[in-house]
């Protein structure tokens, strides 16, 4: 069938609309990057949109020499690695057991988990619990409370459910224990879902700030997101970064936020092109069995 004239017009308009969507999506990023490399005067005059003006890297130099920044960066890495590791172990165990259809009580344990998605304790009872457990100002407050995401667990569970049962039957005839089967047979075949889970948890942990805001008081324990938050809220300023002259200080004050944003988001941007497809496939898997 021949395309009508109006459909041809629509196709052109469609491309323009979608390009506009891309432009709007990327604009804030490019704007932040442009500001991070610009001079104070140009930023304050509101001249910087997509291209850096009055090129200046003083703030980058200062931040990259700032010990607090590096400490918080290191903290973020430590919290992300430890939390992701704990989450993967816990989620795998939970999902694997719940994927066994013959298991007695499976339904009960599954509903026990799912109910928490729709009703949770809320901010204050959670806060009191973490305080009572003595977890404040320890790494445990960062890595334990979010150990299992039920959403992720359900995605993993539906992946395990899709595996052929003969695999495990053969293994158990050969005398393999449940643990042995899980570690030696199931997990090596589950690499795609493990990769997806690692990414889901790692990005979530890398980006989180509120737990740290609630449960950590010592600034040398802050993750980089909280460092940035305090900067945005005006709780800290460039002065702590060890600038010398007054001119330097105003320059730093003008774009320290932009620079910190760029440096915080950089690792995510670098891995994004490669990991994006795992996220999409994970979400698809989750939507099958929601």
């Amino acid at each position: 069938m021949k395309e009508t004239k109006s459909y041809k017009v629509f196709k052109v308009v469609n491309v323009i609309i979608l390009l506009l969507v891309v432009y709007i999506t990327l604009f804030p990023f490019l704007n932040v990057v442009a500001q991070s490399f610009s001079g104070r005067a140009q930023i304050e005059a509101g001249q910087v949109t997509l291209i850096p003006k009055g090129f200046n890297v003083l703030t980058y130099k200062t931040i990259l020499h700032d010990k607090t920044f590096w400490t918080s960066y290191r903290n973020t890495i430590v919290y992300t690695v430890v939390a992701t590791f704990i989450s993967i172990v816990m989620t795998t165990m939970f999902a694997y057991v719940l994927s066994k259809k013959r298991l007695m009580g499976r339904k009960f344990f599954t509903s026990l988990a799912i109910f928490t998605m729709f009703f949770n304790g809320g901010l204050i009872p959670n806060y009191i619990l973490i305080k009572t457990l003595g977890m404040t100002n320890t790494i445990w407050a960062m890595v334990i409370p979010g150990a299992i995401s039920i959403f992720n667990m359900l995605i993993m569970k539906s992946f395990f459910e899709g595996m052929p049962e003969e695999l495990e039957e053969a293994a158990s005839i050969d005398g393999s224990t449940t643990y042995g089967t899980l570690v030696r047979i199931i997990l090596p075949l589950s690499k795609p879902i493990l990769a997806t889970m690692v990414l889901f948890y790692a990005v979530g942990n890398w980006n989180s700030w509120f737990g740290a805001f609630l449960y950590l008081d010592k600034s040398d324990m802050f993750p980089v997101t909280l460092y940035l938050r305090n900067l945005l809220a005006g709780a800290t300023s460039g002065q702590s970064a060890g600038a010398t002259g007054a001119d330097d200080l105003t320059q730093i004050g003008a774009n320290i936020k932009a620079v910190t944003m760029v440096l915080t988001v950089l690792p995510i941007l670098m891995v994004y092109p490669f990991v994006q497809k795992y996220f999409v496939s994970g979400i698809m898997l989750g939507s099958v069995k929601q």
């Binding site: 990327l26 057991v97 007695m104 945005l232 944003m261 988001v265």
Partner: protein, 323 residues
């Protein structure tokens, strides 16, 4: 009636011991056979109990006096004192109204946006261009809310890009974050910016599952592309739309707490303060734990009722439900 009840009671009593013994032996048998599987459940269940169910029970301090450092379930019953307190609290009703307005606006704008994007992308023939648009539009989903808020603050600053645009067209710069009337548009707009690309994924997946022969049949009947969209494409993704609508309505009370907390300031409390931020200030900044818990409990119960009732209605009328 009474007799019937009595009789059924008797038969139940007769049956009870039999059932429990068989059940008990079944449990023992299952434990013996699958103890290794059950052992893997120990840590996850302990986790659920401590970090999910104990805080749930901890909500009881909405009805009990709580002393910081004391029993996490409170010291003594005080009845509905804290419930009465927020019912009589004008600020509570103000933030309640703000929450409803903000979440309704968000639903109104951010729910259709991904559907539109998915439909537009569906008309793109070039795979490369489609991929490019998708990859770019997913990006905000991967960023920390702190970064997103930082970007919003920068764009809306006096010397930010939005004001440059306004000045370019001869307007006067606007103090966006100092003016209460701008908070809602900024919140909802940035929410749409953040979620429209990623939200389109599920619709795009549903679109690929539509039977190609339906389009052929529609073409035979002389339907143009627009009519095909109305009669084939949209009905094809309707189940997905409804499922996501249920999820969205169910969480209508949950305005992006962290985002509001990062963005708002006393100058725009009038429109920006929502239930969760209010209870955060009441509970953690003024240490009125019980009062804040009462507010939080009220909020979660409404949320729970919303999820269950939307799911019930959807199952009844569309055969589509979450469970």
């Amino acid at each position: 009636m009474k007799q019937v009840v009595e009789v059924s009671k008797q038969t139940q009593e007769l049956k009870v011991p039999i059932i429990t013994t068989t059940k008990r032996s079944l449990v023992l048998k299952a434990l013996k056979k699958d103890w290794q599987l059950y052992s893997l459940l120990i840590l996850p269940i302990i986790y659920l109990v401590i970090f999910k169910y104990i805080p749930m029970i901890g909500n009881i301090i909405a009805f009990r006096r709580f002393i910081p450092g004391g029993n996490i379930f409170g010291e003594e019953w005080v009845g509905f004192r804290y419930i009465q307190m927020f019912i009589g609290d004008a600020t509570f009703w103000h933030v309640f109204k703000n929450t409803l307005i903000m979440s309704s606006l968000t639903l109104l704008v951010c729910f259709p946006a991904p559907i539109i994007i998915a439909l537009l992308l569906n008309e793109v023939k070039s795979k490369k261009f489609k991929k490019f648009v998708q990859t770019a539009s997913y990006l905000p989903h991967f960023l920390s809310i702190v970064i997103i808020s930082g970007m919003i603050l920068q764009l809306t600053a006096t010397n930010g890009a939005l004001n440059s645009l306004i000045e370019f067209f001869g307007g006067k710069p606007i103090l966006f974050m100092q003016d209460a009337k701008w908070f809602r548009p900024i919140y909802v707009g940035s929410e749409a910016w953040q979620t429209m690309g990623w939200g389109a994924i599920l619709y795009l997946a549903a679109l690929t599952n539509i039977d190609e022969s339906l389009y052929e049949a529609a073409k035979m009947d002389g339907a143009n592309r627009w009519k095909q969209t109305i009669h084939v494409t949209i009905p094809g993704i309707l189940p997905t739309i409804i499922t996501l609508l249920i999820l969205n309505i169910g969480s209508i009370m949950a305005v992006g707490f962290e985002k509001v907390l990062l963005l708002y300031n006393p100058l725009n409390y009038e429109t920006s303060d929502v239930i969760s931020t209010y209870l955060f200030r009441v509970g953690l900044q003024s240490s009125n734990f019980s009062y804040a818990t009462a507010i939080g409990l009220f909020e979660s119960i409404i949320g729970l009722i919303l999820v269950y009732s939307t799911n019930f209605l959807s199952k009844k009328y569309t055969d589509n439900g979450l469970w």
